[in-house]
Amino acid sequence: MAECRSPAAAFADRFDAASKGGALRLAELPFLTQVDIRVDPASPAAKDIGAALGMPLPVAPGTTVISGDVTVAWLGPDEWLVIGPEGYRFDLLRKALGERHGSVVDVSAQRTTLLVAGPRARDLLAHGCALDLHPTVFGLGRCAQTMLARAQVVLLPRQDGLLVLVRSSFAAYLAEWLLDAATEYLAPRL
């Protein structure tokens, strides 16, 4: 994807600088494959898509299943977001669906992925997210569609922080917001 340009590409240097102090790690994880799946979870098609994914589509609200470098996040009773590495073969999912009713739509460029990690990651997000992000409440295996500041996001907890999936057009706004919110965590403590 050398000839592609990711939505938060212009922030790479500032994210790097903000990641130096040890409190936070900010980065864009560009060009991940993202696929929106709509299908009746009780249908054989859903089962076949699960088989193609190597894991079942999660049916509990606000949960994810993770297998290797692929995450499937529950977005609604009949909607999931698959996040995989660049080049992930989502055409196999389409093939698994076949001619049956459902949709497998490439939305890789619809949102970009920001990594917010480090010891203060959750504190940083708490400035703009009304959800309880405590690891016991919102740990690995959870996901949420919510607002971060004034942008819609999908939040996915990771071992050391969270992934923030944001609409490409909001990426610059959110990057500025995150860097501004980080001000206090980057300078020496009071």
């Binding site: 592609c4 340009r5 949709s103 939305v107 400035h127 609409r167 706004y173 980057l186």
Partner: protein, 956 residues
């Protein structure tokens, strides 16, 4: 004055500050109020209406009097001096009741944080600390918030010598808070006032983080922080406020709440006067009298309204040689600018006016009418308050939220009682079933106070109730005399309780005085509603970081940086920034003006080739066997008949038949469509589709997915666009025959996989090239590299579409316009059984003559540009109103419509406009007038299609 020792101030360090132009000093640990008292300052404010001198009445946030203006380091109006922590370099001044806002922007940061906890404890006095510790001992997530800089509450001033668990009270508080802070799931917030309590145990607090550092506050730390807290359970350990008593001259500097004087002595090491008189209805003021006497203040007398304070207290009084007059009241405090003498007389319980029988020289008059639990937050939570006849005050009753009140805030008045009550509340907060159990009843108070509010007099003009608003008992009598009975009405009639302090000292006193005047019981009258905020909160804190560029999100396309670098000015469309026009640098170095730029861009599109970033259009992927049927019901025209590979324009209406949105529908496969929406309506259209699918037509097998930002769109427009496209997409057959209007093709353009659509929003030959938003920069650059293409912005797009009479939903429509009104009857299917809006097209109102219809307007002066929004009138209206002068229409005439779009056209060589005009289609050729300023501008009504009405240009 300051004592040699004692108190919790750090005498090893000196802070300099200035008040009303005079220099003073204080110490870390001081408030501005304690430092002023130490400096001998008596008057710190002037009252708002009467201009009376006012001093320091309390030692906390209930302060009604000592409201000051901070001048430096940053101007802040109306802060109670009792809540301002002293810092070096503080400059403040007294206020005549009103403050001054800063004239420059506030350079400090402010922010907000969301927090969640199992238990929120409000107040870090003995009850609050005990509650937090009990709750935290189970590993629960606990937040303890206290408005003071250090924990302890009453332990800091009222109970300074008491020992808790082997430690002096204040030391115990410090140690307990430190223990809590060290726990991983506990957050201790000092200098934090919880000021609002809302439904679902959502509370809002403000933390003052660097205010106390003055100019030394680090710039990167938010000065104040708003905490938005969601708590499973709340324990309110908010303590008490001492009650004042209304008597003549009770507002003079030197009159002070007894417990506050004790706090100044014990916490700040300050003697608030030299010679004191104590006036009380309660035992607690004796402790203040004894502490002050023991510290060297001459206590001239204790006037106790009760028949006797009891033997133990009487003995202590006698031991100190203090005169005790039981059954006496203060009839007046007198003095010039401050208390100099106190008149006293026997209390007559029959409410007869008391007569002065004694006079005492004094510069300090301590007052205690007993204590009011601080029930503000409890009341805000929806909790009911109960008037306790024994305590003579409001106490918390039931609440519908998971909250309970602990310690003094529910009438417990001993230290050991508060500690036990707090601990029990903390345990119950986590106890599941036990949490539902009501807290045990409070024992009858040991202090045996007598509710006493008001010294009867013949003249109440100087019995102050609300000192900040200058409301006296006489004012309340004027209200009751005018027939008012409700305390809410009296509050609004007199303004009592409406000041910055929200009536913390005046609220119940008002009720008491009204009850006294009406001969009713206080419990019957109640009290005015407690509302957030508990304390004044600055707008800067509430705004937080939502200001400047972060005030509202800006959405940008993947080409935004290119637009910026190439001279684009931007137009706001929803949250989007769209290039408006590109400003070139002229040969002489000046910048092109807008008119020149837009004419140039229009000419390029009509005569050569131009391109626009159209990525902001909403895009929705629609899949399913019933997708065609679904779109048939959604759009006014037929979509299911669209051939795969083709494109159709469509209009959506609301059920009222009014235009809601428009766009194109592309059929990608038999069961697969991609539709576009207007930029501003992308989310609304998707919501609309989901609403119908989920609530009305769940049987339709259709899935919708937003792909607005997956795809970026470049509109390549103009007679030479085919030539440019052919150069970039050698594999694509671009001739009219191979690639007809309103079809799409997949192709590689500049080596990028693309979907190319032959859609035109300008009437010219045009191609819309869709690629992923990751790759559009490359596409755009490749097109620019052809050297033939002029980029254009939204203004040119508007001119081009208006010349063709294409409406913009939301600009040429306003929710009262049907497709027929827009001259688009052709887009409304006569064949379809039903679609959203169909029934409304047979309503009388939508078929009547005289509806406003879209037309073109040509000003008779071809250089005159009509302002958009201009009203249109006719000369043919009957002159029933106004007068006709010189052929002009009457001064008052009905409007026929208004200008919706107005531009200067390069293609037409003149100005033109679109307008909604009553019966417009039947007025073609008619002359109307547009009142612009004082002039009536003549215009001719024309068809809304002004350019190439035959459509000869669309194939190039």
């Amino acid at each position: 004055m300051r004592r040699e020792s004692g108190g919790r101030v750090d005498r090893s360090r000196t802070l300099r500050f200035r008040f009303d132009g005079q220099d003073y000093t204080g110490h870390p640990g001081d408030t501005l109020a304690s430092a002023l008292l130490a400096g001998g300052v008596r008057q710190v404010a002037t009252s708002v209406k009467l201009g009376r001198p006012r001093g320091i009445f309390s030692a906390g946030s209930e302060e009604p009097n000592a409201v000051v203006q901070i001048e430096e380091p940053f101007p802040e109006p109306m802060l109670p001096a009792t809540t301002v922590e002293l810092y070096d370099g503080l400059v403040a001044s007294s206020l005549p009741g009103q403050g001054r806002l800063a004239t420059g922007p506030d350079p400090a940061r402010y922010d907000a944080v969301h927090a969640h906890c199992d238990v929120l404890v409000v107040g870090a006095g003995p009850a609050g600390l005990a509650a937090a510790r009990a709750a935290a001992s189970t590993g629960a997530r606990v937040i303890l918030a206290d408005e003071q800089p250090e924990p302890g509450g009453g332990l800091l001033g009222a109970w300074p010598a008491d020992v808790v668990e082997g430690l002096l009270g204040a030391e115990w508080a410090t140690a307990t808070a430190a223990h809590l802070k060290a726990l991983p799931e506990v957050r201790v917030l000092a200098r934090t006032t919880v000021f609002g309590y809302y439904d679902d145990n959502y509370l809002v607090a403000v933390e003052r983080r660097t205010n106390h550092l003055g100019a030394a506050a680090p710039a990167h730390v938010a000065r104040e922080r708003i905490w938005r807290i969601r708590a499973r359970h709340v324990v309110l350990a908010t303590g008490t406020h001492e009650r004042p008593i209304a008597f003549a001259g009770n507002d003079l500097p030197g009159v002070m709440l007894a417990g506050s004087a004790r706090t100044y002595l014990n916490r700040y090491g300050v003697l608030p006067g030299r010679r004191a008189v104590v006036f009380t209805a309660d035992d607690s003021a004796y402790a203040a009298a004894f502490d002050l006497a023991d510290a060297g203040v001459r206590v001239a007398a204790i006037l106790d309204v009760r028949p006797s304070p009891g033997e133990a207290l009487a003995r202590e009084v006698a031991k100190r040689g203090i005169v005790l007059l039981a059954g006496h009241v203060v009839t007046a405090a007198q003095g010039d600018g401050q208390v100099a003498s106190v008149q006293a007389g026997r209390h007559r319980p029959e409410a007869d006016p008391a007569v002065a029988e004694h006079a005492f020289d004094a510069d300090l008059l301590l007052v205690s009418g007993g204590w009011n639990p601080v029930v503000h937050l409890f009341s805000q939570s929806g909790g009911r308050l109960r008037f306790d006849e024994t305590l003579g005050t409001l106490v918390p009753g039931d609440s519908r939220q998971a909250v309970e009140v602990a310690g003094a805030a529910r009438g417990v008045d001993t230290l050991s009682g508060c500690l036990a009550d707090g601990a029990a509340a903390g345990e119950r907060a986590l106890g599941g079933q036990a949490a539902a159990a009501a807290p045990p009843p409070v024992d009858v108070p040991t202090a045996g106070g007598q509710a006493f509010w008001l010294v009867p007099a013949s003249d109440y003009a100087a019995h102050f109730v609300d000192m900040q608003r200058d409301v006296t008992v006489a004012d309340l009598h004027r209200a009751t005399g005018a027939g008012l009975r409700s305390v809410e009405h009296i509050k609004r009639y007199t303004t009592a309780g409406t000041a910055h302090d929200q009536g913390k000292t005046s609220g119940l006193l008002t009720t008491a005085a009204v009850a006294h005047a009406l001969g009713e019981r206080m419990g019957e009258l109640g009290i005015t509603t407690f509302r957030a905020p508990y304390l004044p909160v600055s707008f800067a804190a509430l705004a937080g970081r939502d200001r400047g560029p972060l005030h509202d999100p800006v959405r940008v396309t993947a080409l935004h940086d290119w637009h910026v670098a190439n001279g684009a000015l931007f137009e706001n469309v929803g949250h989007w920034k769209r290039p408006w026009y590109y400003q070139r640098v002229l040969a002489d170095g000046r910048l092109e003006d807008m008119e020149t730029a837009v004419l140039r861009e229009c000419r390029a599109a009509r005569e050569g080739v131009a391109m626009m970033d159209a990525s902001t259009l909403g895009k929705i992927d629609v899949i399913g066997p019933d997708a065609g049927e679904f779109l048939d019901r959604l759009y006014t025209n037929l979509m299911s008949s669209l051939a795969v590979g083709s494109i159709r324009y469509g209009v959506m209406c609301r059920p009222d038949g009014m235009v809601f949105d428009d766009g194109t529908v592309i059929r990608l496969a038999e069961d697969h469509f991609l539709l576009t929406t207007t930029t501003g309506n992308a989310a609304a259209v998707l919501d609309w589709m989901e609403e119908w699918l989920q609530t009305e037509w769940p049987s339709l097998r259709v899935y919708c997915t937003s792909v607005t930002e997956q795809w970026a769109t470049v509109a390549l427009v103009g007679p030479r666009s085919r030539e440019v496209l052919a150069g970039l997409a050698p594999g694509l057959a671009v001739s009219t025959a191979d690639f007809p209007f309103m079809t799409w093709r997949e192709a590689e353009v500049a080596g990028i996989p693309a979907r190319v659509c032959r859609i035109s929003f300008s009437g010219e030959l045009a191609f819309e090239i869709n690629v992923t938003s990751w790759e559009v920069s490359r596409l755009w650059t490749a097109i620019m590299d052809s050297g033939m293409v002029t980029p254009y912005g939204t203004e040119t797009m508007h001119v081009l579409r208006a010349e063709k009479g294409y409406p913009i939903v939301g600009q040429d429509t306003d929710g009262t316009v049907t497709p027929q009104d827009l001259g688009m009857s052709w887009v409304v299917s006569k064949k379809k059984a039903d679609f959203i809006g169909k029934r409304s097209f047979s309503r009388a109102d939508t078929v009547r003559a005289g509806r406003k219809q879209l037309v073109g307007l040509l000003p008779e002066d071809p250089d005159f540009l009509l302002p958009e929004g201009t009203q249109l009138v006719s000369t043919d209206v009957p002159a029933t109103v106004g007068t006709v002068r010189g052929g002009a229409p009457p001064r008052t005439v009905p409007t026929l419509g208004h200008v919706t779009s107005s531009y200067r056209s390069a293609a037409l060589g003149r100005t033109f406009a679109l307008a909604l005009v009553s019966g417009g289609q039947s007025r073609l050729g008619e002359r109307l007038y547009a009142p612009v300023g004082d002039a009536l501008v003549p215009v001719t009504v024309t068809s809304h299609v002004l350019y190439d009405p035959e459509g000869t240009r669309r194939d190039g």
